[in-house]
Amino acid sequence: MEKVLMKGNEALAEGALIAGCRGFFGYPITPSSEIAEYMARKLPGLGGVFVQAESELAAINMVYGGSSTGTRVMTASSGPGISLKQEGISFIAEAELPCLIVNVSRGGPGLGGIQPSQADYFQATRGGGHGDYRVIVLAPSGTQEMMDYTIEAFDLADRYRTPVMIMAEGTLGNIMEPIIVRDPVEKFYDKPWAITGCKGRKPNIVNTLHLASDFLEERNRILQAKYKLIEQNEKRAETFLTDDADVIVVAFGLMARIVKKAVMEARKNGVKAGLIRPITLWPFPDEHFKKVAETARMVLSVEISMGQMVEDIRLSVNGRVPVEFYGRIGFTPNPEEITQQLLLLAEREGF
């Protein structure tokens, strides 16, 4: 199969087109802008719609509208832009509309910087906006996965009628790697709920205002049942050399590949390290931690943040094994830095 050298952001955008996405609504921001640029070039020729909105708030509400017609639609942004979109995401979650939201994330808080970051983990995995809801969050680790997970995200969104988020630290959007371009998606879903003009049928209504207490609670119970189902079916993680490992390192995204190299280097130095890489950040793959909580002597969370995923890891191992944290912000730690941390940890703990 012939490979093509592509930038992560472009691979993601092409993946969206392959998945049949025909609406993009966004407002440019580094380091995600190439996604909008790519869609602006390609969508009009495919009969799709590209709108550079006047603001992020407008963009997410265009996604809300576009999705309610049954069309596959998306938006992409970074940190501060995703914060602005939270109100709309909450509405879309309650309206049970499928869509893709991409966060090519940069350092915060505030305007922060444009350097890669994973510090939007809490925002992504706890819903992000108001009310009791969650979005499925996928974390690719390379250019091929930027494409593949985008295709997968549209499928999950339609299958569960829910917004799906892709969270990728900024480097992933800008790195180039050879990829295999996938075939166009042919499996689509019936959408009897879509607003398509109600000739000959009952009108479909998209509404998230529920003033009656009973109905509000019922709506919440329906959403929670759906999230339960997603938790049962969709937890995903990659494991590497975990069976005999004394220390399990946990990392997601590109960071996980950097850690993988550090794990191999640590083993060359006699430290038995392993890796768990969560692929779904929500639902968090807690089951992958059950076994290592019995066999490993320590878990180390490595994040480009001041420590967020580490809380989910602690919930997953539930006190059965100590969990430590190593993080940077503004910098992506290199494999050499992580190897060093692992060797220090092994020396301190005597394994």
């Binding site: 050298l5 790195i175 790697e177 050879p178 290199n334 050499e336």
Partner: protein, 183 residues
């Protein structure tokens, strides 16, 4: 030769540092290798130096980042100041001596220098400096074979005018020749 090589390209923005790395990544891919290209897209791009890191490997690339590349192509002095200490022990430094006015401090590195401005002026193609450097680099190191890189020139420069492609090829070959005669 190691099965994985990580090469840093560094210089001023506008010296073609990022496209030099992209060319190498393309050429490596066309030669059937695994490659990755990581640009510095952070704040550093706006002030002093631009740089990118290319990894070429026979196996799957785990980390496309490294603290210690085995080779560096250094196009100006600030880049030498910033990266000299980071290169792997016994690594290779390729230096544009037209814009770097000091020798490296370390004595374990293999240093290959070229007065790039002068070489470019000789072929009347100052805009092709980056391709001259790349040609010399590939001739000397064989990270990707010169013949393989030349074979894929049209493909790599797809969409560019033929005159532009020829100019770049000419520059690339001038670099190859410089390396043959001087390194």
């Amino acid at each position: 030769m190691d099965s994985e090589k990580q090469v840093l390209f560094a210089g001023f923005g506008g010296q073609g540092v990022l496209s030099m790395g992209q060319f190498l990544a393309y050429a490596g891919m066309e030669a059937g290798k695994n490659v990755s290209w990581v640009p510095s897209y952070g704040a550093e791009m706006r002030g002093g130096t631009a740089n990118c890191l290319v990894t070429i490997a026979a196996e799957e690339i785990s980390s496309p980042l490294t603290e210690n590349p085995v080779m560096a192509i250094i196009m100006n002095k600030p880049s030498l100041d910033k990266f000299e200490m980071k290169i792997k022990p016994n690594g290779t430094l390729i230096i544009n001596s037209s814009l770097v006015d000091r020798p490296p401090v370390r004595d374990d590195l293999k240093v290959l220098a070229m007065p790039l401005t002068q070489v470019a002026e000789e072929i009347n193609n100052t805009r092709g400096s980056n391709m001259i450097m790349l040609g010399a680099y590939l001739e000397k190191t064989g990270v990707v074979k010169v013949e393989d890189a030349l074979k894929h020139f049209e493909k790599i420069f797809k969409g560019k005018k033929e005159s532009v492609i020829n100019k770049n090829r000419e520059a690339f070959l001038a670099g190859v020749e410089y390396a043959r005669n001087n390194w």
